[in-house]
């Protein structure tokens, strides 16, 4: 299977474990990602809170470059925020021919809005992808209880994402179950992590993180699983801070769903950067791999 690929700005930095685990999986199952040659930032929340045309145009330059490559492939986007911005552009350009032409003018390139934009949950939910992953997994995390956290932007707004459910999506639960881990039922699957407000309005936003972790814990999860570099960073980096500030003892490592898949395909901690997590993430995986006789 092949896709055009838009990594987004955080994949080389705070999203590094997401990147490494995706690359590991690609090498195992023969998934080919063609990185868009000279991509730029999608604009994230910043652009659309200031300027509508800019919010649509920044992604359009990337999508137009993917078209220019002539590979005729859909575009795979790992970050939930990038995914949302790119998909907004596709939808706007398809809905309104004038807008599409206006975008072409702004970016100074032809843009036909032919390719779809897909997030990695959509990609890994495809039956052929699940089969390919399953064939390559020889380790199991059997019995490890996990809370799958989807956040906002893979599901909302539904006119853009086309998500099956905005309150209780199941795609990640089903993918993660391939590893033997047991997704728990819980209430905060699509609650907001606060995104950049964890930096620019931390007092107001920090409780969002704590509520997510608390609910996962109350539902007996041993780890939280994400599908976005920013959701992951926000939970992973702030959990220890919250413990320190409030005397709580939350103890849930926060993994990208691709990390679990990669580990079960044989990835070592170093291969995918398990030691790069802020909240210690090695012991839990190790414990379950050992239990399963690895």
């Amino acid at each position: 299977m092949q896709f055009s690929y838009y990594p987004g700005c955080s994949m080389d930095t705070t999203g590094i474990t997401y990147k490494l685990s995706i690359e590991y999986i690609c090498s195992k199952i023969g998934l080919v990602l063609h990185e868009i040659p000279d991509w730029n930032c999608c604009g994230a929340t910043a652009a659309h809170s200031k300027n509508k045309m800019l919010a649509l145009a920044l992604p359009a330059r990337n999508l137009a470059q993917a078209e220019e490559e002539g590979l005729d492939l859909d575009v795979a986007v790992p970050c939930a925020s990038c995914y949302s911005r790119m998909k907004h552009t596709v939808v706007a350009a398809r809905q309104d021919e004038n807008m599409r032409r206006k975008l072409e003018e702004i970016i100074g390139m032809p843009y036909k809005a032919k390719a779809d934009v897909l997030n990695f949950l959509e990609i890994f939910s495809r039956p052929e992808m699940k089969r390919a992953c399953q064939e390559k997994m020889y380790r199991t995390l059997k019995g490890m209880k996990v809370a799958c956290y989807y956040g906002c932007l893979t599901s909302r707004p539904v006119e853009v994402t086309g998500a099956s459910s905005t309150e209780n999506p199941m795609e990640m639960d089903e993918i993660v179950a391939l590893t033997g881990a047991e997704p728990v039922e819980w209430d905060f699957k699509t609650e907001c992590c606060g995104a950049s407000h964890q930096v620019d309005a931390p007092k107001a936003a920090r409780p969002l993180i704590e509520r997510i972790i608390r609910n996962a814990k109350a539902n007996k999860a041993q780890a939280i699983i994400t599908a976005c570099p920013l959701c992951n960073l926000n939970l992973d980096m702030r959990e220890g801070e919250i413990n320190k500030a409030k005397g709580t003892r939350y103890d849930l490592p926060v993994y990208q769903f691709t990390e679990l898949l990669a580990v079960c395909m044989g990835a070592g901690a170093k291969d995918i950067g398990i030691h790069k997590h802020f909240f210690p993430a090695f012991d839990l995986l190790n414990e379950y791999l050992r239990k399963a006789g690895d």
């Binding site: 705070t14 730029n40 930032c41 200031k50 145009a57 920044l58 007092k203 107001a204």
Partner: protein, 192 residues
């Protein structure tokens, strides 16, 4: 504060303009409060999401534009997703925030700074540079030590480094941003 906001008719016209741009008919709201009930940021808001709509309806735009709420909204879309009338509240808030910014009414200066620095970064490098963003943010907001405890871990594990990761044709992105600004201005003029 902008004097035109004291005139109720002007303020109502402004509310109508913001609503139109967000694709909202303000009269559609039932004032049921489901939006406020599910809003993750409501705990720190000075005007609840439900009130924002009601105030706009009444033409109390000064209160809306002065509020912290329009800066604290995380654009999570929970409210519109649960609203029985699919009212695009984050769209209204976004419009209100742009108007507030234009008038120099900045309810939460950190949020405004973060966004500006983010976009300056993109204009300069084509991609966002997390190190530059955090550094400039801390310096310009005066929160010098914020998040510095996490820096040693990031450096040790090479999560961030001194090298910049830029778009090769960053100049192209800058041009694009200037043209987008012109197009946005034109779009706004068309609405008035």
């Amino acid at each position: 504060m902008d004097r035109c906001l004291n005139n109720r008719e002007n303020a109502k016209a402004l509310a109508a303009r913001i609503a139109k741009d967000a694709g909202v008919d303000l009269q559609d709201c039932y004032q049921c409060g489901k939006c406020s009930g599910g809003c993750p940021m409501a705990g720190d808001m000075d005007l609840m999401p439900r009130q924002i709509i009601q105030y706009m309806r009444l033409g109390l735009m000064g209160d809306v534009l002065r509020s912290k709420s329009i800066w604290l909204c995380a654009a999570c879309h929970t409210c519109v997703d649960r609203c029985p009338h699919d009212i695009n509240l984050p769209g209204l808030i976004e419009g209100a925030r742009m108007e507030a910014k234009r008038r120099g009414m900045i309810g939460v200066k950190e949020v405004d700074k973060f966004t500006d620095i983010f976009l300056e970064n993109v204009k300069m490098f084509g991609k966002n540079q997390e190190v530059v963003l955090e550094g400039l943010y801390n310096v310009t907001t005066g929160h010098l030590m914020q998040d510095m405890v996490n820096v040693p871990h990031m450096l040790k594990h090479k999560i961030v480094g001194p090298e910049l990761n830029t778009t090769k044709q960053a100049a192209e992105v800058k041009e694009l941003m200037l043209r987008a600004q012109a197009a946005e201005n034109e779009r706004k003029r068309g609405e008035q």
